[in-house]
């Protein structure tokens, strides 16, 4: 019986391969997944959603900073309303203890789908956020630190850790504060500025607030360059209502 012949590779004719690829070019592609933009949580305010490219990105930390009466809370309630309307649950970690249920209902929020955590201090608020991110299943977590921007809230380590946890949980983590706290950990930062308050009629009624939103930071180029701004009119239901 003759000894078995060693198997040698078939020589490839490079020129024939190149010709074949050229002929098949429209049909042949290098295998790769299409780069999809992250899903977004819309605010329901068309000007803001247009500025953000559809809303706040899921799986990222975003921050909304601004002065008093600049529309931060209205924006947050819009987010909550859109999320709960989609049948999802959301969490509000409220270190400022400022959540107003009547305003939320007026904005269209389904209250039974909101977990409201009234954290007694910033440290408890940040720990609560971490626990909620660990639980998974909350597509939106709002952290309200307005007026509570102490040393714990300014720690960059905390925000980078929470941003990583948000990426793992695919949660849109949105921070409300008087000024920007998360630094480079934030995927995008929106700065809100008050413009004017409109009183009309006799006797006078507070009818609307006009605010401006400025996209101060965006890490991905999907929603446009930083520095773009949008003006928003917020209708006031007011004490008279």
């Amino acid at each position: 019986m003759p000894p078995p012949r060693p198997i040698s590779p078939v020589p490839v004719d490079a020129s024939r391969l190149e010709r074949l690829l050229r002929d098949l070019r429209p049909q042949v592609r290098r295998g790769a997944l299409p780069a999809l933009p992250p899903p977004r949580c819309p605010t329901g305010i068309s000007a803001i959603d247009g500025l953000l490219g559809g809303g706040f990105p899921c799986g990222h930390l975003s921050e909304v900073a601004g002065a008093t009466s600049s529309g931060r809370t209205a924006l947050a309630l819009g987010l909550l309303a859109e999320t709960t309307r989609a049948g999802q649950v959301a969490a509000v970690v409220d270190a400022a203890d400022a959540f107003d249920a009547a305003s939320a209902v007026a904005a269209g929020v389904t209250l039974e789908r909101v977990l409201w955590v009234r954290a007694p201090h910033v440290r408890a608020a940040l720990r609560s956020v971490e626990r909620l991110l660990e639980a998974r299943g909350f597509p939106l977590i709002l952290v309200d630190l307005v007026g509570r921007e102490d040393r714990d809230a300014r720690s960059p380590t905390v925000w980078s850790r929470l941003a990583r946890a948000a990426a793992g949980a695919q949660t849109a983590l949105v921070l409300l504060a008087g000024r920007r706290l998360a630094g480079t950990s934030a995927e995008l930062a929106l700065e809100m500025q008050p413009r004017r308050a409109c009183f009309v009629g006799m006797p006078a009624l507070l009818e609307e607030l006009e605010v401006q939103a400025v996209l101060a930071r965006t890490r991905s180029g999907l929603c446009g360059a930083a520095g773009r701004a949008a003006s928003v009119r917020l209708h006031v239901l007011g004490s008279a209502a």
């Binding site: 008093t68 649950v89 107003d100 409201w116 007694p120 408890a124 609560s128 609307e208 007011g238």
Partner: protein, 531 residues
């Protein structure tokens, strides 16, 4: 009819090892009390190998084995171990009955009878059922043996027989080790004693015949009389005429005959499903600090959760009773709003409850009880997004309550109260229904940020209309004003009576606030901010 007997032969030892698993593999003696003269009542295999025997005093035992660990027998631990044995049995059969505790030689054993009829359909064979039972008992921290026979008595005798053989095998192994250590050839062979035994009805008489009469646990007087008569085996007793035996030995012998003939064949009845579970521990030394107390509580909670898991339940509200030095008791009920079985989370809740206020004296004993609650289940909907899993949500809610307080976590509620400061929360639960279509405003709505408590303000208001304000949230001249709107309520109660005049105001520093004048106390306050 088939009855299984689940038997823990050495309950005091098993109870201590269940609570302190780190002692497994060490020479351990369980003693009757505190002090050097206390009597050893149970020993581990390692202690037996070192030469320690029950009935030794602590001093004697320690002189033989200096590395001996000594623990005082704890009635609370034994009670919990007995309950655990019942839980193990209930996890496999609904018809379960605890055997009455014996005295004398078998005082240390605890037995549970189970209805084993038809279990072959579920476990392929009765051997499989018995093996599953022993495995579950071992997992729950109680080593036990199982015998299946056609009556309670025969199954108990068979279980005692297995336990005796296991003990004999251990002694043989220890003797063999001693022989080998001395360089001699061992005359003993390690016996392959198993932990389960299944007797078919036809073989029961043959099995019982050679068993020693002591396995029937006769009373001392009766045992002495039987020995005097030369009756040493069960078979020798059963072959004698019943009437003559009763005439000569009294009615006490009837119990032995009933056991030996397998006449106790009543099937355990299904009991009511109990959901309350208790665990306890008697401490040898009082504990003064919260940290070591937490260590003990962690073990109690873990055992509580294990037992509830056998019943497919999780922890509900916790009832904690601390026995204090000096005879006092500290009883607390700790609410667990989201039932869960995670000991770490429950420990956080308990610690929070113990910190405010701290126990007023060192703790000598702890009893922890809970009402088991069913695990929360959720039916997912293909067309609606899934939220957090019920178990993860339960654990998270408990952790959040431990962090922030139970009254600060929940879903917001619209309250039917005219007071502007009124707000409420309800326990949060995953909504089961499809989302209702909430009213969608056509325009963006400015929201109010509540200030809790309202911020006091100094306001200059000639003719009742504010013109200038100084406060922690807004300052300066008032450049826009709407109002007032009067809100009153609580007129029937002097404590709850209120009356406010509210204004919407824009201040010189750009803030838009809701300002109010408290007519009852004549003070100005900022109670909300438009944002």
């Amino acid at each position: 009819m088939r009855i299984a007997c689940l038997l823990a032969a050495d309950l005091p030892l098993a109870a201590v090892l269940r609570a302190q698993p780190e002692l497994a593999g060490l020479p351990l003696a369980i003693v009757s009390g505190v002090g050097p003269r206390a009597q050893v009542i149970a020993i581990s295999a390692e202690a037996a190998r070192a030469g320690v025997r029950p009935t030794f005093s602590v001093v004697h035992a320690r002189s033989i084995c200096p590395a001996l660990r000594v623990r005082v027998a704890s009635p609370a631990l034994e009670r919990a171990a007995c309950e655990t044995l019942l839980d193990v049995a209930r996890s496999l059969s609904p018809r379960v009955a605890a055997a009455p505790r014996c005295s004398g030689v078998y005082a240390a054993e605890a037995a549970v009878y189970l209805d084993a009829s038809g279990v072959g359909l579920l476990f392929r064979s009765e051997e499989g059922f018995a093996a599953a039972l022993t495995t579950r008992a071992c997992t729950a921290g109680i080593p036990a043996v199982v015998a299946v026979a056609s009556s309670r008595g025969v199954s108990l005798l068979a279980a005692r027989c297995i336990a005796r053989d296991l003990q004999g095998a251990q002694d043989a192994r220890s003797a063999a080790e001693q022989f080998q250590a001395a360089g001699e050839k061992s005359a003993y062979e390690a016996q392959g004693a198993g932990t389960v035994l299944v007797l078919v009805p036809a073989e029961e008489a043959t099995f019982l015949d050679p068993l020693p009469i002591d396995l029937l646990d006769p009373e001392d007087v009766l045992a002495e009389a039987l020995t005097r008569f030369g009756i040493r085996r069960v078979g020798e007793l059963t072959r004698l005429p019943r009437r003559s035996l009763v005439t000569r030995l009294g009615p006490g012998v009837l119990r032995l005959l009933a056991l030996a003939h397998g006449e106790e064949d009543t099937v355990p009845l299904p009991g009511a499903a109990e959901t309350r579970v208790e665990e306890g521990v008697d401490l040898e030394w009082p504990i003064e600090n919260l940290e070591p107390l937490s260590f003990i509580l962690r073990g109690l909670l873990a055992r509580l959760a294990e037992r509830l898991e056998l019943r497919s339940l999780v922890c509900g509200d916790l009832d904690l009773e601390l026995r204090l030095e000096g005879g006092g008791r500290d009883t607390r009920r700790v609410a667990v709003s989201a039932p869960n079985g995670d000991p770490r989370t429950l420990l956080g809740v308990l610690r929070l409850a113990l910190e405010h206020p701290l126990p007023r004296a060192p703790v000598e004993g702890i009893a922890l009880a809970t009402e088991g609650r069913p695990v929360r289940t959720d039916q997912l909907d293909l067309f609606h997004p899934a939220g957090p899993t019920p178990s993860a949500l339960g654990r998270t809610l408990a952790e959040l309550e431990a962090l922030c307080g139970s009254e600060r976590v929940g879903a917001p509620l619209l309250v039917d109260d005219p007071h502007p400061d009124a707000f409420a929360q309800s326990p949060f639960a995953l909504p089961r229904s499809a989302p209702k279509t909430a009213l969608r405003p056509g325009v963006a709505i400015a929201a109010l940020r509540a200030l809790r408590p309202p911020v006091p303000a100094a306001v200059r208001a000639p003719r009742g209309r504010p013109e200038w304000i100084r406060s922690a949230v807004a300052n300066g001249p008032i450049v826009g004003l709407a109002g007032p709107w009067r809100t009153t309520g609580g007129w029937w109660s002097p404590e709850r009576r209120f009356a406010f005049d509210s204004f919407d105001a824009r201040t010189g520093d750009g803030n838009v606030i809701r300002l109010r004048f408290d007519l009852m106390h004549c003070v100005w306050q900022v109670d909300a901010i438009y944002d």
